[in-house]
Symmetry: C2
Subunit: 329 residues, 2 copies
DNA sequence: CTGTTAGCGCTTTCAC
DNA sequence: GTGAAAGCGCTAACAG
């Protein structure tokens, strides 16, 4: 069934029915309700392609994940993808997947916007390509410094704000010596900011407490073990990802240390698993739904309102659960 | 620029130009070449939406990943998604992402087919929903037994074939006592088939050699450590995923055992990391590109040739690298 | 082998 | 508030 037949069935003109679907103000509330309800009952839904052709909009966003496999597999990104899908769909958009193995310029999909998951290796040339030299609005989600590019909005994640809260909590609990388990990837500002951060909250600074472990649990396990075997032993561990934090908890247990009684652990990202872990992880939350909505909104204002690309920074914040306690001494 | 303008520019009719793009046999090779080349030069490409509307095809496949987050994050699935994207694009199709958090029947995308990554928790009702009660052809990729559903093809992965090869290799190398590190998920046939498999190749069967670890490296590390501390010690470890195998290698090292001199390790899935590991992992390969192509093909024959849904089974096979050696005694 | 033309199903002006 | 009609850009059937 198409719009014409459907309209005929309702004894309305196609124009009216179309307007009802599109929430145009000219159509009476009563008519709209009736149309929507009848559509539901008769199982009628509009042909998306015809709409696209008529409006020139695709109602499609392209999701670019130009990552190494191992990074894409990161749970945090999967959760972000999920949230983006949800946020896009709430606005009537679908997501086109682009894992980035090929760069086929021939069969370009016409999309209304592109969402780019940023990584250290992304260059301006990449951005240019993704946005078709600025023809398509884009938004990049990043923890790094924005690279200016045409029609490219940014959702920046200021990890420092949440990390600061984390160290403030630790300081308040009497921790003076805390170890840092890093992800071992270039381009992240955290390690270099750590010195100031720790001094600010009155902690002992020592470059040796930074261990750039890597991304895997095994690496985290090793790094945490190394840190916890030191003398004097740090009373808390801050881990750059929740995955590393889970490994740190296990490392502590392996050494006969209880969390949080003997050692406190803080994670980062607040992935789903963090809350389910034993003990539930105190962690820095990225608030993934907020990020996703911000990204979709940034795209939408460029598309609908023809606005200039925005650059917004979203703070992170600490979620307190049960992996932090008073410093043991 | 649209087709009409483009055709005018070339002094050809729209019909000819359209046929040239679509590789219709009636157009001369010379003309086609010229058209394609001019399109490239002028930066012309056809409007996808108009094509869709005119042909009734969307050139879109929907990728359904109705998984728990932790399973989706599995590297193997990310690699599969990547391969599917490639295979689909080779056929002129794009992939629509559906991570499965919502089941919004209102704004259904009209897609030409849906690709379902199967998991133990999928029921016939799910399949019915994904395929819109059989209106849309579907293909499910699974290691489990197919569930019959309308217009649903299957690409089954017979993991047993490759695992058999693995145990044959181990047997040939003199291994009699090998441990099994499982993924701890229900619905997989392997553990129950193990007894017969091991007897077939002349190994000692003992139910205790099965350790259902879990999915994480940490879990694999523990399980492997447990197994390797036994007396007598198994001379080889078969791990249900490469991730577990990497952990097993580390566990061995931790115990002062060299791989493959002191203990052999075999993984499963042949993810990218397997070849890059130290030592490069002997593993059971799923041949992900072949699976992806089979899935796309299964969809295509239903769409283009109106054929009945097919059920095909793809064997796995062993890829020998350097993590297996003669049994130490 | 090539040109002409009638749709595909919807949106959106423009009248009423 | 509603109706009629002109496209959106392409494909495919038909005629040459």
């Amino acid at each position: 069934m198409n719009l014409v037949e459907f309209a005929k069935h309702l004894n309305l003109s196609v124009g009216t029915v179309s307007r009802a679907f599109n929430n145009h103000p000219e159509v009476s509330e009563k008519t709209r309700k009736m149309v929507l309800q009848q559509a539901e009952e008769l199982g009628f839904s509009r042909n998306a392609d015809a709409r696209r052709l008529a409006t020139g909009r695709s109602y499609l966003f392209q999701l670019e994940c130009p990552f190494n496999t191992h990074v894409l597999a990161d749970r945090y990104l999967v959760e972000l993808a999920r949230a983006l899908e949800q946020a896009a769909r709430d606005q009537g958009y679908d997501l086109l997947l682009h894992l980035g193995t090929h760069h086929n310029t021939a069969e370009v999909q016409t999309v209304d916007g592109v969402i780019i998951m940023s990584a250290p290796e992304i260059t301006e040339a990449h951005l240019r390509q993704f946005t078709c030299a600025g023809r398509i609005p884009a938004v990049v989600i990043t923890e790094l410094t924005p690279i200016p590019a045409p029609r490219t909005a940014y959702v920046c994640i200021d990890t420092l704000s949440g990390v600061r809260e984390a160290f403030e909590l630790l300081a308040a609990q009497g921790h003076r010596s805390v170890g840092y388990v890093g992800i071992g990837l270039p381009g992240y500002r955290l390690p270099s900011a750590l010195k100031e951060l720790m001094s600010d909250v009155g902690m002992t600074w020592d470059p040796d407490i930074i261990v750039e472990a890597g991304e895997t649990q095994i690496a985290g396990f090793r790094a945490a073990t190394d840190l916890l075997k030191r003398n004097p032993r740090p009373t808390a561990l801050f881990c750059r990802t929740d995955l590393l934090a889970t490994a740190a908890v296990q490392a502590a247990h392996e050494l006969g240390l209880r969390v949080p009684e003997d050692v406190s652990v803080i994670g980062h990202d607040d992935i789903e698993m963090a809350a389910l872990w034993n003990p539930p992880l105190t962690t820095v939350s990225l608030n993934i739904p907020v990020i996703a909505n911000a990204a979709i909104d940034a795209l939408l204002v460029m598309i609908k309102d023809q606005e200039e690309p925005s650059v917004q920074t979203l703070n992170t914040h600490l979620v307190e659960r049960n992996s932090v306690g008073p410093a043991a001494n």
